[in-house]
Symmetry: C2
Subunit: 285 residues, 2 copies
């Protein structure tokens, strides 16, 4: 197929590489000529350009820009496209994207490849990044069935495990396991910094080990991405945060009332639940 990719960062570049290996023709678009040159040289795209009009013959286009740029990019693309062209995106929220994108372009299918690493940008691209990873598609009652089928088959060909659900259920699920952890992890770092005794803060830094390291990791990720999670998945994230605060309050209450057996029971339940959580799929780490 003739595949277009807008935004040649970690996700876009990794898609480009894999699709080329499968024999597809890949055209890339980036805002930066340097990235275009690199994408051609590295074999990520057959050709790359800063001009969205270069995608006029594409049969399917993957929008792999930051969330905030997805809708504006589609609006700029549509004057150049053939009516049968399919557009899909790679944004990590779907409710804020799908309806607006479909209003701009009927042949739109919302998507979210749940793959990545701790890096970003074209230099972080990985061959086979999507293999054995979830790739969520979020059709709505207005999604064109043939467009959904094409996107589904294409991402399956990357070795991804495809799930279909509504934009709302997608957003509420990722709020739990992706966006909420970022916020509670960020609040941990923030709270430590509120320690007013410099000696204790200094010892805390010296003693910090794997427990602090793991729990604080996602709260210190890309700040722009964290902000966009909050902005574009606000309702689902707030709902998770309210329930989280409720459970935290309950635990604080148990400690205040010295309910040690109750706390041990809670921790035992969590231990089993986490194992169940992480074993509910075979192939995603």
């Amino acid at each position: 197929m003739k595949i277009g990719i807008v935004g040649i960062g970690l996700i876009g570049a990794s898609l480009g590489w894999d699709f080329r290996q499968l024999g597809h023709d890949v055209s890339g678009v980036s805002r930066q000529q340097f990235t275009c040159d690199l994408a051609e040289r590295e074999g990520i795209c057959d050709r790359a350009s800063c001009d969205l009009a270069s995608l006029k013959d594409a049969q399917i286009i993957f929008i792999c820009t930051p969330i905030a740029a997805i809708i504006p990019t589609i609006a700029q693309l549509v004057p150049h496209l053939q009516p049968e062209t399919i557009i899909t995106d790679a944004g990590s929220v779907k409710g804020a994207i799908v309806d607006r994108a479909t209003a701009l372009w009927a042949n739109f299918v919302g998507g979210h490849p749940m793959a990545g690493n701790s890096q970003s940008g074209i230099a972080a691209f990985e061959k086979g990044l999507f293999a054995d990873r979830p790739y969520v598609l979020t059709p709505t009652p207005t999604t064109v069935p043939s467009a959904l089928k094409t996107v589904d088959e294409l991402v399956r060909s990357l070795g991804a495990i495809v799930y279909q659900t509504t934009p709302d259920r997608h957003d509420r699920s990722v709020a739990w396991i992706s966006h909420l952890p970022v916020m509670i992890s960020a609040s941990l770092i923030d709270a430590c910094l509120s320690e007013t005794d410099p000696t204790i803060l200094d010892f805390a830094k010296k003693f910090a080990s794997t427990g602090f390291k793991d729990t604080s990791r996602v709260g210190a990720g890309n700040p722009e991405m964290g902000m966009m999670m909050a902005e574009y998945n606000r309702d689902a994230l707030l709902q998770s945060l309210y329930l989280y605060r409720d459970r935290l309050d309950s635990l604080i209450d148990s400690i205040e009332h010295k309910e040690w057996t109750k706390i041990q029971y809670l921790l035992s339940k969590n231990q089993a639940a986490r194992t169940d959580f992480l074993n509910s799929k075979d192939t995603c780490d």
Copy 2:
């Protein structure tokens, strides 16, 4: 020296091994004969017994039992000891231990080796476990200087990085970087389980990846140990939890009021602060 070790689990066994390598004579005590036999066979102790009286000639004794057993163990030990014998412990809280232990035995020095792995028990012992790791000693105005000097020199000989501070400052520091992370991580798992839509819970499990995995790890550790952190470091932990809840409320408030720039600023500040936190020592991961 003639060294006694009570409690031949991960910490006790690792101490025993290292001390024997340094030429000391090591006597172990465990409640289980099986553990005693294993400790002798593996070269962890020169001899091991279920009888505390077997330590009557020890010059220094390391109490490496769970926190709740430290004071009762010392009370049972004292009738057997020479007055010059030094007792030290390996408990992860100090305020709840040091004064009571010192009242039982004047030659007591509070200690906390900040080393370990995800396992427990004698089978988890590691050679060189304490090398380049913090080892905190918590003298008080009544601590006998020569006892402190002996413990300090012994743990330094293991390659540990020795810090000295008050029991209170120790407990408040570890509340931040060890006990608070356990509680907020446990509340994350607990909150996810409160999701009432089974489809969303099922997707959350299927989509859970490294972000959820890392943030939930310490909340699913040994339930008995988590309970003891709460019980024996209650005051410092509650103080950290109150400050944490305050920072979480502030973040929730920012999301409610759509203060996106403020959130991005917070996340940027955290990113830098975490790097500073984890770089404040050269040799502890």
